[in-house]
């Protein structure tokens, strides 16, 4: 095991992928000389050169389209979109071009493209630098989206995303970059679409992912103090998501809570709940409860943002309601 920060695990995955495959390219704003606004790509341009770690102007739209052109031409571009909010500027390239090229050209081509971006609050970055927009992309056939919470998963999923012949959105969390953890010496790729059982339990299943996993772990501990045994599942991949693992857990606990930092309404949780209400109906002994942000923009001030982001107490409360 090597202790390092979350940002370093992502850097290591990029480094290893570039060393393994000469067609892997990094492109983005200030990722080369400047090393990335969160220092995730630091040192890679020095190591691999400006032809493989390419600084681009602040042109998210053309950056996305250019990456599609590179991917259609046999390269494996990994682009960085500095904040997930800025993905709004790449939508045509990702939604109309990348997601559909394999399908609409009858399988003539694939688009092995990775978009690295980061979402979430916690840094008081305000309404245009904090949003969790993963549901937008999970709604688009042809795209994949992953959202790892641990260093090991971040490493494994990023390596796998780069290998994947399809466009994959790789969502990091800005508040997690400095968090320390262990990366195994034997660093393995991780199949997209597999959830991880983080804590086994018997009374209620909590499904979460990404930054909200930290609150979910706290919630499991708080519930244990109330003699409630919660089973915690880290989804890791949002599109595709591991429906079978969630259903299997529901079959054990018969109660379900889904928690994420993104706005609750029309979110990832809504899809999970709807599917479980359908295929898991016979297993359910109570209502399925969602925990997500309120339906409002992410506010700036410390006090407002702290009230906005769902916390462990809300997950605990949701579990109690699910069990009532």
């Amino acid at each position: 095991m090597t202790e390092m920060r979350y940002a370093h695990a992502i850097n290591r995955a990029l480094d290893d992928a570039m060393a393994a495959d000469r067609t892997v390219l990094l492109l983005g704003e200030d990722i080369g000389k400047a090393g990335g606004s969160f220092a995730v790509t630091r040192g890679l341009q020095e190591k691999y050169g400006a032809d493989r770690v390419i600084d681009t102007p602040i042109s998210e739209n053309a950056l996305g389209g250019m990456a599609v052109g590179l991917a259609l031409s046999g390269f494996r571009p990994v682009i960085e979109i500095m904040f997930m909010d800025f993905m709004a500027l790449t939508m045509d390239a990702l939604v109309n071009q990348a997601a559909k090229a394999h399908f609409m050209f009858g399988g003539q081509s694939s688009v092995p493209l990775v978009v690295r971006t980061q979402h979430g609050g916690g840094l008081n970055a305000g309404p245009q630098h904090s949003q969790c927009l993963e549901a937008w992309f999970a709604h688009i056939p042809g795209l994949k989206l992953v959202c790892p919470s641990s260093l090991e998963d971040a490493y494994g999923l990023l390596r796998q995303a780069i290998d994947d012949p399809n466009p994959v959105i790789f969502v990091e969390h800005k508040a997690m970059y400095p968090i320390k953890g262990d990366l195994p010496e034997h660093r393995a790729k991780l199949e997209i679409g597999t959830a991880r059982l983080v804590r086994p339990g018997t009374d209620v299943t909590i499904v979460s992912y990404g930054g909200m996993m930290r609150e979910a772990i706290k919630a499991v501990d708080l519930l244990a103090a109330e003699n409630v045994s919660a089973e915690l599942i880290d989804l890791r991949s949002i599109q595709p998501w591991d429906e079978a693992s969630v259903l299997a857990s529901l079959a054990r606990t018969h109660h379900l809570v889904v928690a994420h930092e993104a706005v609750e309404a029309f979110g990832v949780g809504a899809e999970i709940v709807a599917r479980m209400a359908d295929i898991g109906f016979d297993e359910l002994d109570g209502p399925i409860i969602r925990v997500g942000a309120p339906f409002m923009p992410v506010p700036f001030s410390r006090e407002l943002e702290a009230s906005y982001i769902p916390a462990a107490a809300q997950i605990v409360d949701a579990a109690r309601r699910a069990l009532k």
Partner: protein, 318 residues
Amino acid sequence: MSLPAVVEHLKLYRQMLTIRLAEQACGKLFADGAIPGFIHLSIGQEAVSAGIMSALTNADTIASTHRGHGHALAKGLSLSGFFRELMGRANGVCGGRGGSMHVADFSVGMLGANGIVGGGIAIALGSGLAHKLRGTQAVSVAFFGDGAMAEGVLHESLNIASLLPAPVFFACEANGWSEFSPTSAQISFTLEALAASYRIPFHRIDGNDVRKVSAIAKEIITTIRESGRPIVVECVTRRVRGHFEGDPQRYRTDTEQAVDPLSFTRAALAAEGVAPDALDDIDREVEAEVQAAIASAAESPLPSFASAQAGVYAAAMP
């Protein structure tokens, strides 16, 4: 005219005629309901497609527009694959999943027509960067209409192409129309001045004279291959049909006769001494090719939904 020059000119004529007859047939098939959806014809603009593509090889790539039939056929899409696609057949170039706005053939460097105005420009930029990174001398061509000059992605892509630099031929087909509005009502600048802003060389070509388009495109492509730098070319032409087939064009005021590139070339060939019989023979051959392609498409199987549904994601290489 030397014999090789006349032979080359005849090839260009034949290419333009193939596009014209194919598109005229598209119009009929669309009106009859045999081609569903939306189609956008490039009748009157054939000299641009035939001329520019005569300067390219299969290693060169193009990204096209919603008005892309001519680009596709001139780049080397087979007539049968083309008609099968537009008629929604399983053996169309895209398996019947894309249709007119998404015809593509990667084996000849045709990276797709595009349903989004300006949607292909940055893709061509990426393809050009790929050529550069591979160290080949291939060039990519970004086709766009004058309406797409209003799209931000053109500006972003010109800037990046100039900075990198990337070997991209930015080909504006200036047909005078931005969907249902005259381009003059939508664009406050000239493409020449825009190119200059990004320090990219600019050429304006008479887009209705295929021999001129071909000759200048060859020079420009050679320059791009040698310099690795982008060039912007404005091909002035005229959209003869509506924005889409079925467009009643009540907004149209340009009623003067456009120069027809096909008649122009036919007359030029006759003046060069090509016998009318020889031209008539070509006309008959091309018409037969188009009709054979349509007949084969009409007999082709329809795609299966299960196969389409299984084709959303590419399978990982083993």
